[in-house]
């Protein structure tokens, strides 16, 4: 017991500590080696039974109408992340909204959106199959388009109505131009007072000129109206690079699960070995002195 009351040097302290650890592990060496290996092997075998999970991240460009956004970026992100949107997505994919269907749980739990650029949303989704991943992304785009259609359709109807009016106007003006042209030819063909014919011709030419101006304006209006619906200013919400999208396995690999389980068991075994080691470090310390 005398060594217990004498001073312990730092090298003895650290050395004794290491020796205590070494003794504890050595005394339970088989346990410390075999149990983690067995647990890792078991974990590997069990993990192999789990079906894989596929996931993908895709960029969705939000639709615009006449250059203006139909839904703000923040609104789109909030909508996709909302539970109601996920429920609609599940319904559109013919998956049960309630219950413990694995595919439904995976899609609902993983469908997440975040803003990527000023008009693009990055959407991430996981599903049990590659097809379901693609389907979930397609459905997301489809639902967004449906929501945007509520704003887009009245605007589209209004523009179409304006286009129809303009077209009717153009037809009317074209007919008027033809009539005026025919009238001018008729005056030229009829022998009459040259002065009167001249006045009537001038009058007809003035009418034809003004008709032509209105026709030109109407065509310009139509062009501008059609341009508002051009593909560079008006487009639906689309999945970018959808054909090149290749979902990959996102579930944790069996090897990784086995390593984590083995390491956790190793930690538990070492702690067990340390706890079992008798508290007799001082006796060994005496021997080192």
């Amino acid at each position: 017991m005398s060594v217990e009351q004498g001073p312990i040097s730092a090298d003895q302290y650290v050395g004794g500590l290491l020796m205590f650890f070494y003794r504890a592990v050595r005394r339970n060496l088989l346990l410390v080696i075999i149990l983690p290996v067995v647990v890792a092997a078991l974990a590997f075998a069990i993990a192999r039974q789990f079906p894989p999970v596929y996931g993908a991240q895709a960029s969705i460009r939000l639709g615009r109408f006449d250059g203006a956004e139909l839904m703000s970026l923040q609104s789109a992100v909030a909508r996709i992340n909302s539970p109601t949107f996920k429920q609609r997505a599940l319904q559109a994919m013919n998956l049960p909204v309630v219950g413990k269907d694995r595919a439904a749980q995976l899609v609902a739990g993983s469908l997440t959106a975040r803003s990527e650029t000023s008009d693009m949303v990055a959407v991430t989704v996981n599903a049990p199959t590659v097809q379901q991943v693609r389907q979930a992304l397609d459905v997301t785009v489809q639902l967004l388009n449906e929501e945007q259609d509520r704003i887009r359709q009245p605007l589209m109807a209004d523009i179409n109505e304006q286009l129809a009016n303009i077209d009717a106007n153009i037809v009317s003006l074209s007919q008027a131009r033809d009539s005026l042209s025919a009238a001018a030819k008729a005056i030229e063909a009829q022998p009459a007072d040259p002065a009167s014919a001249g006045f009537r011709t001038v009058w007809l030419l003035d009418l034809a000129s003004r008709n032509e101006q209105r026709l030109t304006i109407a065509k310009a209006e139509r062009h501008a109206m059609v341009a508002r619906l051009g593909s560079w200013k008006t487009y639906p919400t689309t999945l970018l690079d959808g054909t090149f999208l290749s979902p990959r396995v996102v579930s944790v690999s069996s090897a990784r699960i086995a390593i984590v389980a083995g390491l956790a068991m190793l930690l538990a075994c070492i702690l067990y070995a340390l706890m079992r080691e008798p508290r007799g470090g001082h006796r060994k310390l005496a021997g080192t002195d």
Binding site: I8, D11, T117, S118, L274, R279, G281
Partner: protein, 475 residues
Amino acid sequence: VTTSWLASGSLFAALLSVTAVVVSLATSLWIVRRRPGLGMVFFFFLFLFAWRLISVLYIDLAGPLFSEQLERDIGPSISALPIAMSQWLVIAALLFSFRPSRLQELLCETRLPLSEGRLGLSELAFWAVVAFTVALWIELLVRGPIPLFAGMERFDYTPAYGGPLHVRLLEWGPMLALQLGVFFVAPTFRNGAFGRRFAVLFAILLLYLFLVGHRFSSFYLYSSFFIMPIGAALLGQQVRGPHARNLFSGTTLHIAMAGTAFCLLVIVAVAYSYLVVRGFEGAELLSKLSQRILVQQGEMWWMTYERVFVQGDWNGSVAAYKLFVEPFNPSRNSTMHYLMELGLPIERAHFIIGHGSAYAGGWPEVLFELGGPTGGFVLTALSAIIFSKFMFLVVRCIVQERFVTCFFLTPVLYALSIYIVAGMVNSFIQVTFAIKLAVALVVYVTEDRWRSGLVAAPLASSPDPLPAPSKELSI
């Protein structure tokens, strides 16, 4: 300062904010005055808590005011109330964990009579740090311009000229400061004098930071970690009662000189940075300082308060996804990245983060973004309990001279500290953190079991837990 809050009849709200802040600050002052050991251990947190509270109160009362970083008006509100309540939870958990009866138990275990041996660990540590410091200074001199003299910002110097040792210091510096503090204070556990050579090493490191363009925050961070072990020693002394040797007897002059030099260093560093490096002057200088001191510490909390408490706009699953699964930069604090993405136009947020900058704050913002207005308090309480328990463990290891465990707990302590001040939660799911935690656990159990075998009954039953004074401790 506007009086919009008064004009709009929200005097009650203002009084509420003021009361919450005053209570919180008074509690912190009480800790510092009545339990200085605890104040030193938690100086890092208490100081930042107070600064953020004052900033948030300023925004509450002076708002609406323009925030340069957010490029929008913020305030007024009663945002000081929930953040003060969050801080109360932490302080309450700390006071409960460090209650006097529990501290008494710290000294029940008999210390091991450690002495200088063939291999002194303090010698080894001292010369290792000396070698590192010398190499660090050589690296500074040979690699390029010295930021202080070249008028260069620290965040420009590090990527352009910072060597491997410089980068290591920035990554591990606070933990090194803690270890220096442990070695500085360790001899006093045996009634010896402070290990002043470690204080000198620490001062040399501060001087290095001064030369490479660091200003207040680094000095504050390093110094807070350095004084933590001193606070633990002071706690031990207070527990022993009036008969215990005064830890600072005969060192008052030295402490005053060191404190004065430290304050001067900080003032010069801040003044040089603002006046020379950045070239601010006149009204612009005042504006920048008021933004830095009074607005920037509280603005991110105000944004969270506005979003979560006022608009009810929070989504825990999205926050968790952005924090843990797909952060903007997984190797850095994802909390602030997420908060910046929420509070700023996305392109601007990514531009700022991409340049290596991040705004101040993060805690308790992250907890309310995850848990909402009610769940946020529950998360705060849980994290406060874990934090206080862990801090007690660290102090216990220092006071009981379990220095091996203390060494391996340091990285965990650093991660927890960064969480409490900046809300960094993604570090907890890193593999490296799990390894650090597992190693610390194994070392703790090993040291605990081994020491319990060393402490024999005759020593344990001794009325005076302190052994006879010996020469300078070597741990």
